[in-house]
């Protein structure tokens, strides 16, 4: 539904591009997690997709007339209006009428659990309730693409799960979603694809189902790491780290794991603990981004 092709953006008076040669497509019904450290270019990319700025070079190609639903990180409503007045105002601004208006309003109110807060002034809601209202105003839009930016910050765990379920429902109804969060388990839970931005470039664009099959291995000893095992890792050119009495080996393939296991079984002293597991998104992110959060 949206294709970004060789997209560049440079801020006025800046010496270098904030975004460099960005290429990816967003399919209908797809949910993409957008990750990146501070200053990586997430804000610029979201501003381009939201059509707040125009690219310096390259193209944003929409299959249909662009229609966006936004949930920005900053609270985007009128504090002196009640929740209901805010919802009706934005329903008017989204040009919602008749049955569609009623449906969208009900959906948004239910998803954000605002039923008991409708007559309260938005400015008098608690921080978490304001986030929920902000969310409701975003999903009220009859849009095809939704941009969610840190929507669950400050929201209690039950409401958070409710919001995430609402996003999943949007996805199931064929809406496309771009979701940014620093809370990576959330991204794992609702997105099927992750794009990692670093210094304005796409550093990683990966479908979570295609996450590398390589595993991580953590081995612990009570007193020191055996030297012959460190030498073996060096000979095999493995990606490893030594931390006190622990050896952490990244991206271990099945044959490497088998070889290593044979050596460990003949090494003394024997390890006290071994953990062989698929890396989480957080571990993958830290590995690819070089530890920058």
């Amino acid at each position: 539904m949206l294709e970004l092709s060789h997209l560049h953006y440079r801020y006025p008076d800046a010496e270098q591009d904030a975004l460099v040669d960005i290429n990816f497509k967003i399919q209908q019904g797809q949910c993409i997690g957008l990750l990146g450290a501070n200053g990586a270019g997430k804000t610029t990319l979201l501003s381009l997709i939201a059509q707040l700025i125009t690219p310096s070079a390259g193209q944003l190609r929409w299959q249909q007339q662009p229609s966006l639903g936004l949930v920005p990180q900053t609270l985007a409503f009128y504090a002196k209006l009640s929740s209901q007045e805010n919802l009706h105002l934005f329903a008017d601004l989204y040009l919602l009428k008749g049955q569609q208006r009623q449906q969208q309003l009900s959906l948004a109110i239910e998803a954000a659990q605002l039923e008991s807060l409708l007559h309260k002034k938005a400015g008098q809601l608690s921080g978490g309730q304001q986030r929920r209202l902000n969310f409701a105003l975003g999903i009220l839009a009859p849009a095809q693409l939704f941009l969610f930016d840190e929507v669950t910050v400050g929201v209690d765990s039950i409401s958070r799960q409710h919001l995430l379920n609402a996003i999943k429902q949007l996805k199931q109804s064929g809406k496309s979603i771009i979701y940014t969060s620093h809370y990576l388990p959330e991204i794992e839970q609702i997105t099927e694809r992750v794009i990692l931005l670093n210094a304005g470039k796409v550093q990683l664009d990966i479908a979570l189902a295609e996450q590398p099959s390589a595993h991580n291995l953590v081995i612990e000893w009570t007193s020191g790491i055996p030297n012959e095992l460190v030498r073996l890792c060096q000979q095999q050119q493995l990606d490893f780290q030594q931390q006190h009495n622990s050896l952490i080996i990244h991206a271990l393939t099945q044959p490497q794991w088998t070889t290593l296991l044979t050596h460990i079984s003949h090494t003394t002293p024997a390890p006290t603990r071994m953990n062989y597991s698929k890396p989480s998104l957080e571990q993958l992110y830290l590995q690819v981004s070089g530890g920058q959060l």
Partner: protein
Amino acid sequence: MRLWALSIKELLLLSRDWHALGALFIMPGLFLVIMAFAMSAINQDELPAVNLSVDIPNPSPASAFFLAALEKQLPQSQVQADTSTNQITLSPTFAEQLHDNPHQGPKLSFPANSDTLSRQRIRSAVTIALAQTRLWDFLIDSELISDSAPLAEQLQQVQLQTQSELEEYQILSSGAVGNRANASQMSVPAWLIFGMFFIVLPMSNSLQLEFQSGVLVRLRALPLAQSTLLLSKLIPYSLINMLQFVLLFSLGFFALPLLGLPALSIHGNELAYFVLAICITSACCCFGLLIAAVARNTEQALLLSAGSNLILAAIGGIMVPKNMMPISMQHIAELSPMSWALDAFLTLLVGQGELKDIALWCYYLLAFALCTGAAGVILLHRRVQNTLWTTQN
């Protein structure tokens, strides 16, 4: 539909903003009443009573006639036996001296706190009363008036001899008329204009709040045309300006007389007032756009709105009438749009002018609106275009 929804929203927000309502309605209303009271002694339609005491050491028919003639000249004056007030002392030979030429009149004594206007009024009244008494004396001697007639009748006959009909014409709306305005004519338009210009405050504040929150991002992504966004500010605030015009004018018309102040008498045709109100509203709202574009946050918007309004009012003859300023300041006053608006109002209220008489000031106000509005639109366009997706990362 969007313009309507945004305009209604703006009015709803304003109705819940007690500070803005105070600045738009209560503050100018209070200023209007207080300043009307403070200026109530200036250019009154009826001059205030003068306190004086008349010392007559040797009462005679002549002194009685003089006293009657004097009271006629100073109606409602209180003649007291208090020596601390303005005093007129007749000589013991007052009646005998009436034929003297040159003539020595009564002695006038003024206490230090007696104002210039009161002294002048007493001098004029004594001069006229004395001339009438001397004429009376001549007419009695010539037996043209009977000394047995009642004193009031004698006075009336003398007045007939001394009174002339004067033809008086007003050359309407010519030149500056501020020095002829009474307390209501000066206070009502002055503080009305001041209050109308305070529309800048909520208007710029409203735009700043939209810039500072994520609302503008949401509006831009609708997408919402910038013209709709600007009109959604201009239309409701123009209506508020017109409401201020009606309410504060009504306050001058209906409420001031209840407080013992002269009522605002509205001269000229209604169209001229309506056109003037439109011109002032245009100037205020366009100025509001400029302030909103220049300010970077709500604090700056407050400072710029209040600061610029106070300066424009101070130099524009709102706080101190222009005719009380030195000439150099009067020239500087001509730079303030508040001064143009006030001059136009005074031309209608005091000079009883018509639309053509205020046309020049209306052009000035519209030119001010055009310049500030154009600058505001250009700067706001840039700011809106530079609005990015906001994050706290």
